[in-house]
Structure formats: C-alpha cells, structure tokens
C-alpha cells in the first residue's frame, strides 16, 4: 500500500490492528526482515512522502520526507555545498526514513558521527494510529522527550516515520584517501598499524581494513581544505615503513573509492554476513578470535574492519554449517570482550543458535515496555525484530 497522507497511514494501522495483520514500513526495500512474505503482511510504502521543505542553508536545517532517497537529498544539499556526512549503499534506493529506522552508520561515523547526531525532529504515526511529532527545526532543543533519537535504529517497530528534520553540515572542500596494500599481514597486525596511523591528533574521517584471502588493504580518508588534506596524507605516508605499497586517491576518486566500498559491503543476497561490535580497544583480540573460528573456511571469508569504531564485518560466500560449535563459541567469546554479534544475512532455513539480533540485555523488558506504549497491538513488524 502506498498511502499519501498521515491519516491514511493511521487508517491502515488501525484497520490492520483490528484484524491482527502485520504491517511493515518499506522505504527502498533494502533492509526488510526475512519474515515479510506471509499472506497477512501489508507493506506500507513511504513513496508518497518525498518533499524536502524548509531548507535554509544558513540555518543548516531542513525537513525531509521519509520516502526521499538519499541521493535526492544529497543532490539538494550539494547545490549549497552542504551534506549529510554518511556514505550510503544504493543511495538511489535507500530512503532517509529507512536509514534513520535502521540506524545505518558507515565508515564516516569515525570522523563525522551518524544520522542520530543529526536528527533534530521527526513526524510519525505510531503503531496504535496516533499521529504525532517530536523535536523541532532548531539544532539545539531540549523541549520535551527525545523521541526522534529513539526512532533512530527502531527498525519500524514503534511507528511509521513520515518525515525527519535534520541538521546538515558544510561539505568538506576536498578529500583524499591513502590506500596501503599489504601482503602476509594478519588482521590483528593491521589493526595495530591503524592505531599507530591514527595516533596524531589530526582528524581522520574514516579508516578501514579490508581483507579477502591473502591480501589486505588499509584505507584512510582525510577531508578538509586541500593544503591540510595533502599535508596530513603526506604525514601518514611518512609514518609508514618504506616497503608498503601506498597509493593516494584524490577528490572524486577518493569519494568514488568509499562509495564503492560501502556498496561492496552491503548485505549480500546469499551466504553469511555477520557484524560484530566491540569496544575499540578489543578489536585486536576480536580479530584473532575470528581467525581461529573461521580457520576452516578462510579462503571464502572476507572482512571489513573499522578499528576506530570497534566494528568487524565478516562475510563468507559459501555459507557455513550453523550448528558448528565454533559459532556458539564465537558468540560467547564476543560477549566476553564486551561486544555484540548480529547476523545480517544467513541462508534460508538457518535457525542459528546464535541470537539473530545478537544481544543479551536486561534492558529488553524496558524495550518491550516502550513498544507496548507506541504499538500495543503489535501491528508493526509483528513477526520479526528484536522485541
């Protein structure tokens, strides 16, 4: 269904609630839960909510309809040399509402934060049909409770977001990316190298380690004015040992490099992809643990590490036996490191012993309590999600 007004959304939710149907909000359709295809599921599309309003470049704020694609938004902002500083896979399909609801964060979170940091207001229709808004159009606001940021990462379980108010930032003048290619280096050694590279206080926008098979690539993104960018990249190169193969991507090439990286690491159609988060200081320990667990399938396994953010994503194209004891061991090992593992893609038919949403938390009761207030009838995303 493609409602055109908030009132229509409310009607759909109320009607669905009365007969016990499941309603799943859909933006670009890129992050839908696996359980969506049962007969009684209503896909509620946000396509009709695409206006960009109230954009005042000198205020650095605007209101965006939830169905607006990220590419459209980026285009509007680029005309005034402004941006929302995240790299999004499939930006012509991914919607702003979807990005907020899924709490998407890319490598630029290291230097620029996430959408949560930019969210200053939102309008929504709750699961029980209540049409409301929260926040405002000003960059600092403590009037009332922080519902917009609660909506961030709520995966459509509380409300259908119809628009968000965002704070935006000036676009950096230029950028550059240092890419260092390493052979026969372990993931853990690369993490240590990254820490060394990041040690000087000059700001880094993003830093990743990508490994597939024997080769490994470290990429460091610097953004700002050109003299500073060039100087910083030169400093980084100088701090590397001379036998490393290092190349520099500049300006548009640099931007393209990162777009291609996030596209490449979007959730695949097949195989397994897992995302693990630990406190940054535990990334070495995590890398070593992963290597042990995946030792039997190392040729098919690739990794994307963001050391500054404490994140490792792991992908195995062929898929693995989920009843393997090593998965359980991995889960508890991650927990011991203070982290969380989430299965982003698993083969159909998998009933993993590892909790798909990967977290144990006594806060879950509290989450259920919040859910009960916003969607007492459990109309939204009835079968899936974490609560």
């Amino acid at each position: 269904m493609t409602p055109t007004t908030e009132l229509e959304i409310a009607r759909i939710l109320v009607d669905a609630g009365n007969v016990g149907s499941n309603v799943v909000p859909v933006g670009g359709g890129l992050s839908l839960p696996g359980s969506i295809d049962s007969e009684s599921t209503i896909r509620l599309r946000t396509d009709a909510f695409r206006t960009v309003e109230g954009y005042q470049p000198s205020d650095l704020t605007l209101k965006v309809g939830a169905g607006t694609t990220f590419a459209s938004l980026a285009g509007v902002l680029a005309e005034h040399n402004q941006e929302v500083p995240i790299d999004v896979p499939h930006p012509h399909r991914a919607t702003v509402g979807g990005l907020v609801a899924t709490g998407f964060a890319g490598p630029r979170r290291l230097g620029h934060g996430t959408l949560k940091d930019l969210l200053i207001g939102c309008a929504f229709v709750q699961g029980n049909g209540l049409i409301a808004k929260a926040g405002g159009m000003v960059v600092k606001n403590v009037s009332g409770f922080e519902i917009p940021r609660l909506m961030h990462g709520s995966w459509g379980t509380l409300a259908v977001i119809t628009s968000v108010n965002l704070k935006v930032l000036p676009k950096p003048r230029t950028e550059g990316t240092l890419v260092v290619r390493l052979e026969r280096t372990s993931l853990s050694e690369a993490v240590t190298m990254c820490r060394h590279l990041a040690a000087p206080a000059a700001p880094i926008s993003a830093m990743t380690i990508e490994q597939g098979g024997e080769s490994l690539e470290i990429a460091v993104r610097i953004m700002g004015r050109s003299r500073a960018v060039n100087a910083q990249i030169a400093d980084l190169k100088a701090s590397l040992a001379t036998d490393y193969e290092a190349t520099v991507q500049e300006a548009e090439e640099s931007a393209a490099f990162w777009q291609s990286l996030v596209d490449r690491w979007d959730v695949p159609e097949t195989g397994i992809q897992v995302s693990i988060g630990v406190p940054p200081r535990q990334v070495n320990a995590l890398a070593e643990r992963l290597k042990k667990t995946m030792a039997g399938a190392s040729d098919q396994t690739s990794y994307l590490v963001q050391p500054g953010a404490g994140s490792i994503r792991l992908r195995n194209a062929r898929g693995m036996d989920e009843s393997s004891a090593s998965w359980e061991g991995l889960g508890s090992g991650i927990h011991a490191l203070g982290g969380v593992m989430v299965v982003e893609r698993a083969p159909t038919g998998w009933a993993p012993t590892v909790d798909r949403w990967g977290f144990e938390t006594p806060a879950r009761d509290l989450m259920r309590s919040v859910k009960r207030q916003f969607d007492p009838g459990r109309t939204l995303n009835k079968h899936g999600m974490f609560i």
Partner: protein, 486 residues
C-alpha cells in the same frame, strides 16, 4: 515519618540522610528564579554512594508511596531538581568517581556526581576532553548533564550531551538496575540511552555513565570581532556559517554584557562595541590558519570595527574567561537576573534580538545578551532587583512575551536548560495534544506510576488516569479521528 528516616539511615548511613528542616533548606531551590519556578521542600534528602543504595532508596520510596527527585549539583535553571510534590530527593553528589578511562576506545566510565570540568581536566593529559561544556561546568555534574541534555558553547561543532553518551546504568522506579547500551549502531535494539538523555530525571536515576571522549584538536584559534551594531554582528554570524565554516564555537555578547565583564576580567573586549563575537576554530593547523583568514574577511565585510586573533594561550583563556564568567559578572549591574534560554533558527536571530530589545523597553527592563549565536540559542538576561516592588512582575511579564516571540519565529522552548517546571505551561504552545500523548506514553514506558520527578515537563493532565486509558490501544486514534473499529 521517623520510620522512613530510620530506614533511609539503615540504607545509606546517618551521614547520608538529611531530614531536619534547616538541613533541607538548601535543597528547596536550584538555579532557577524564585517566582518563575516555585521552591518546595522534600521530606528527606539522601546521599548514596553506590547504585545498590540508590535502588534500595527507590524501593523504600515506593513502599511509602513517595515521589523521588534525583539531583546533581542543583545548578539547573528550570526547576528540574526541586521536589515540587515533596518526597525524597536523591542527591548523587557523593557518587563522584571516575571509574575507568579507556584512551584507546576514547571512552570513560564515570559516576553521575563527577563534575563536568573535572572530567575534562582528568583526561586532558591523554589528549582528550569531554566536549559538552555548559557555563556551569565548574559545578554541574555529568548526571545533571545527562538529565538535561546539556549544551554549552562547543555544541556548534561537537554536539550536545546526547552525542557523547554511549551507555547508562539506571535505577528504574521499581528499583531494577538496567544498563542501556548505545554503541551498537542500529543493532542494539531500541536506543534507550537516547531516550534517557534529556528525560529530566523522569525516566530513571542514572548511576553510571559511559561517555565518549573527544580527541583534543591539534590546533585551536580564538578570535574576537567587534561590531557597531547587533545587526552587523548577526549578519557576520550568518555569513560565517554560510561560507562553509563550522567554527567550534561562535558566541555573541552585547554592550551591556561587555560593561559587566570587561571591568571584572579585563579580557580585552572594547567597551564601546555594540556587540562582540567570540569565534573559535579548531582542527589541523593548516585548516585552522586558512579558516581564520576566511573568518577575518567575512567579519570585516560585515563591518567589524575590530578583529583580533589571540596570539597566546593566555590571551585565548582570557577571551574565553570573559564569556564563561559573564553571569558571575552580572552582579555589577544588578542584584538579580533571570537567565533565559530560548532557541530560534539562526536566520531569525537578528529579528529576535530586535524583539528582545523591544521587550526590554516595553517592560522597562535592562536585558543583557550573551549567547551561542552559532546555533541560535539565545540567553537574554533580564536584570532586576527583587526588593523593588513590581520588578518581579515585570520580569515575569517580559519573560512571557519573550517566549511567545521565540515560538512565533519558529523556535523552541529550550535549547539547554530543559522544561522542568519553568516552561511546562508553554508545552501546549509548541506541541499538539497528540504530540504530548506520545511523550506521555514514553514516560509511562519507564515510569508507569509517575514516581520519578512528577509534575515536570508534561503539562498537567497528561499523566492522570483518564488520559492514560485513552492513550492505550487503537481507541486513542479512533476516538480522535472518528474512525471506529470494526
């Protein structure tokens, strides 16, 4: 009451309980203006040292059916830490330890009573600081910062408190202890941490905070620009932001403020300037140098009568001192002040400042302006003398007009100080009934029996039984929109 006091003493020890009227006097008020916000006495104040003690006290309060108000340093300006309905105040000031600093992850685990500036001072030697820096930072606590989602001059670039909180340990109204984790980027379930920050003590009592620390930038420059009019200064603010520069701080002060501040601190603010801007930029040294030049050009084009860049750390600190200690200097001008907090879109700043001037004239009040121009967060300071008949009334009337004016131009009620009791009555001017019901629902999810800091933020009636029933289920929508369930 003695049974309650005895039981409280058995939980926290005799040193941890205040119950004599003379001991309770200092807890009757906070930083807000008596008259705009009522003072009120609690039955007892408890000062725990552990989370378990907080939990036990909360359970006791529930057993005696008493409300609970959490309190930090009591520097809040909207009445958030005043026990309007009596009950028990839990003061977190004795829980003041920095438990762990992780320089690699750039985080710190702290107790809520840690003083904001002391946290930054503690981690400075490791090249880090805690970015939210409210003007009260020498006294205010991290727990208070969390409750109010505090700001400060560096929020323009670094964001507000919520952007720097990664996890919270909270005691719920039934005494349960819960840890909320906000580090998992979209896979952590609902972001309860985000809901808790800015909840003004109404959702849970924070007993531990995992904060994000920020790397100290390699270079920082502070500049002072003076202008012949407030309009010129406002224009400069718009032009600086419009040129693509994001300063780490962009503050404005008017002549009245300069008159108070300069004789007190000799920071170098020109006494004849109508307005000064204090601009800070930070980052890579080359970026900072170029940006400084750009800012200078912009200010000069906007008509700056003076532009000066601090050439030493000492000069930098002095320029900042004038800003950070501005409130303390106001005593030179008047015995009392009402420090307002409103926020408007930056593009309406000029208009709003003109309105502030007009409101001052209409009510025969001197109003000083010292504020975060970069994010449109105004702090008009109404000067008065409480002892003079009619002064308080004029201030309250002017305050009402001021808030109305800010709402009219698309602003919100509070940028930093919170709603508390002070602005509860204005919530219906910026939020609809549905918006408020949604917020009441969130409150109910955390505190269904309204035990924590009742009668704050939400206007009267939103937590009462009748509205509660209405809120539940599909009937909420059905009744208000005439859509009837089949």
């Amino acid at each position: 009451m003695s049974s309650l006091i005895e039981q409280l003493i058995s939980v926290v020890g005799i040193q941890g309980v205040r119950h004599r009227p003379t001991d309770l006097l200092v807890y009757e008020y906070d930083g807000s203006v008596d008259g705009a916000v009522d003072t009120a006495a609690p039955i007892a104040v408890v000062l725990p040292t552990t989370t378990e003690q907080v939990s036990a006290v909360v359970k006791l309060a529930a057993r005696f059916d008493l409300p609970v108000v959490a309190r930090g340093a009591g520097t809040g300006l909207s009445g958030g830490a005043i026990a309007q309905q009596g009950g028990i105040i839990i003061a977190l000031t004795r829980m003041d330890r920095i438990l762990d600093v992780d320089a690699v992850s750039r985080t710190a685990l702290v107790e809520p009573g840690v003083i904001n500036l002391e946290l930054s001072d503690h981690v400075r030697s490791e090249g880090m600081f805690f970015a939210p820096d409210p003007s009260s930072q020498k006294a205010c606590t991290i727990g208070g910062n969390v409750a109010e989602n505090s700001g400060g001059p560096h929020c323009l670039k670094y964001g507000v408190t919520t952007n720097h909180i990664l996890g919270l340990e909270v005691v719920m109204p039934d005494g349960r202890i819960v840890w909320t984790d906000s580090t998992r980027d979209g896979f952590g379930g609902l972001d309860l941490t985000a809901a808790l920050v800015g909840s003004e003590g109404m959702f849970g009592i924070v007993t531990r905070v995992l904060v994000r620390l920020t790397q100290t930038p390699p270079a920082t420059t502070v500049m002072l620009a003076a202008f012949g009019s407030m309009e010129d200064a406002s224009l400069a603010v718009t032009e600086v932001i419009g040129s693509g520069v994001l300063p780490s701080s962009l503050e404005m002060m008017d002549n009245l403020t300069i008159q108070a501040v300069e004789p007190a601190y000799h920071a170098g603010y020109p006494l004849d300037a109508a307005s000064v801007l204090l601009i800070e930029v930070d980052g890579h040294p080359l970026d900072v140098a170029e940006t400084t030049d750009d800012v200078r050009s912009v200010c000069e084009s906007a008509g700056a009568t003076l532009f000066r860049k601090a050439e030493s750390d000492k000069e930098r600190d002095l320029l900042w001192k004038g800003r950070k200690m501005a409130l303390a200097a106001m005593g030179r001008l008047a015995p009392n002040y009402y420090l307002h907090d409103t926020v408007v879109p930056r593009s309406r700043l000029n208009e709003t400042l003109a309105s502030v001037g007009r409101i001052g004239q209409e009510h025969s009040l001197q109003i000083a302006n010292v504020f975060h121009a970069g994010d449109g967060n105004l702090h008009p300071l109404m000067l008065f003398d409480r002892r003079k008949p009619g002064d308080v009334e004029r201030v309250l009337s002017a305050s009402h007009d001021l808030i109305g004016e800010c709402i009219r131009v698309g602003g919100m009620l509070s940028g930093e100080h919170g709603i508390g009791t002070e602005k509860r009555g204005y919530m219906t001017k910026v939020f609809t009934d549905e918006d408020l019901r949604s917020m009441a629902g969130l409150k109910r999810a955390f505190d269904p029996d309204d035990r924590f800091n009742p009668e704050k933020v939400l206007p009267k009636g939103y937590m009462c039984g009748e509205v509660r029933a209405l809120h539940q289920g599909v009937h909420a929508f059905a009744e208000s929109h005439g859509i009837f369930p089949m």
